[in-house]
Amino acid sequence: MTGDAHGRDAVPVGVAGRPTLAFGLSALAGMAVLGAAMLAALLMGPLPIPAGAIVRDVLDGLPFVSVDSGLTAQQHDVLWQLRMPRVVLGALVGATLALGGAAYQGTFRNPLADPYLLGVAAGAGLGATVSIVYAPGLSIAGQASLPVFAFAGGLVAVALALVVGRSFGEGRTSTTLILGGVAVASFLTALQTFVQQSHDETLQQVYGWILGRLSTSGWTEVRVILPYVLLAAVVVLAHGRLLDVLALGDDAAESLGVNAGRVRGVVVVCVTMATAAAVAVSGLIGFVGIVVPHAVRLCGVRGHRALLPLSAVAGAAFLVACDLVARTVMEPAELPIGVVTALIGAPAFALVLRASRGGATP
């Protein structure tokens, strides 16, 4: 599906950027891959659960559908209280990171942008480290304090980046925002390292969080991030065409009647909230936000109205698959999922880039 040697475009969207049948088929294919990854993740584990029974039990949960799945009570509990929450959380976090990466790459016209660009990872890392070191066992409104500290740290970091970025120049250009993010991230990372090194008895815990994990306690984590993820998805997807306009540059966008600063601000706020929420429950999972949108582009997808939803679906499938590897490859021990995303993502990305032979510019 990549563009051909003459730069002609075999795309799953129409030439005017409108979704077409090809886009619909691509979306269906993506959903099928996601469904297969989720089913595989639900199947794997110490307690065998037949695939057919899983499908029947999921169908049984739908309104107006009644099917006897044949699962035992134990299998039912393992499926719905252990495996399903983890798989759904993986899908939500993967979709958030990939959607955020695609949105940031468009918003900042920077192919190297990922959802952590403006310092959300550094802020969340500091928040999590402070929670582990200074407030172990503390609960806030009945919740463990770590996700709350991480979420707050991520939001504060991006708010600081916006303030610092604005102080650099006359306007909120993409460059000044990125520079603000770099400055804030460097500062907060230094603080995080200082706190971490000052309390080496918690090093393992801190590193365990930083490398990412998708461990769940029932549906709590899913419920925590779902509102943020849904809000960000709706708002960012609705801005698809405007992100195409931003790709023309701020001056051109202004001459087309688009307030580039406002669009960028709305997208940044929504992506930040969703990313901070995702990081709060899963730690720092790198590579998804960069690799997935580029891989989708390299499949020939053009225009943000197609790129954003397809990146979200692909990101969900990618992270569910990575988590499956993380928890099975060294069973009963688990690999940090951030290690798996990098180990799988980096070579896969390099291969895809090589296969494209420069035919499609990310």
Binding site: V15, D244, E254, G257, P362
Partner: protein, 256 residues
Amino acid sequence: MIQVRDVRVRRGGRDVLHEVSLDVERGAWCALIGPNGAGKTTLLRALASGRVDAGTVEIGGVPVRGMGRRRRAQRIAVVEQQPVAPAGMVLAHYVSLGRTPYVSYFGGEGAADRRVAAECLERLELTHLATRLVTTLSGGEWQRAVVARALAQQPELLLLDEPTSALDVGRQLHVMELIDGLRADDLTVVSATHDLGLAAAFADHVVLLGEGVVVAEGAAAEVLREDLLSQHYRGSLRVLTDGDGHMAVVPSRGPR
């Protein structure tokens, strides 16, 4: 009718434009000329946004600054000096983005928008390239693509900043002829250019800017004078005119 009255623009603590006044008739082509730093691009930006430190910019009696962002984009289109060619965007989509001022905030193009975009591609002789990535277009094709996107805004006023500076002579002429043809629909054109020969060939009205003020304005023959140009461009220039009144401005080094 474009009316610019006593416009002053300050940048970096100094006046980049001062007391600039200008009238451009509907359907006319006005060329802004002058050396680097004379204020040509600043004046184009003032026309595009209405943002000035003093004075007024009006189109058809309506202050540009008071227009809403979208309304302004429906009346004024800008072709920048170095427009960004977005990676991975096909030409038809690029041109259709010119319909943005007519599309609702979260909406997409309707059938009418797609028809206008297709017409713009056709008028700029680009229809056969509609599915090409804009990053793969030649210089001349890309310049026409940018003009087509601006034209899709269906503007009354087209502002061009050095529209042909990256093109060879033949393609310069081709693009300028195409733009000139657009004036049949009463499109008013204001262009900033260093190419004095093209300004003479296409503009009805030439404005020579020097250090932020209007030094001379009028028909090409009145403004493109050797004494004026040599003084303000700070170099020896010769103005050559053939029997048909075509003018060319060339640098002169004296005998070798």
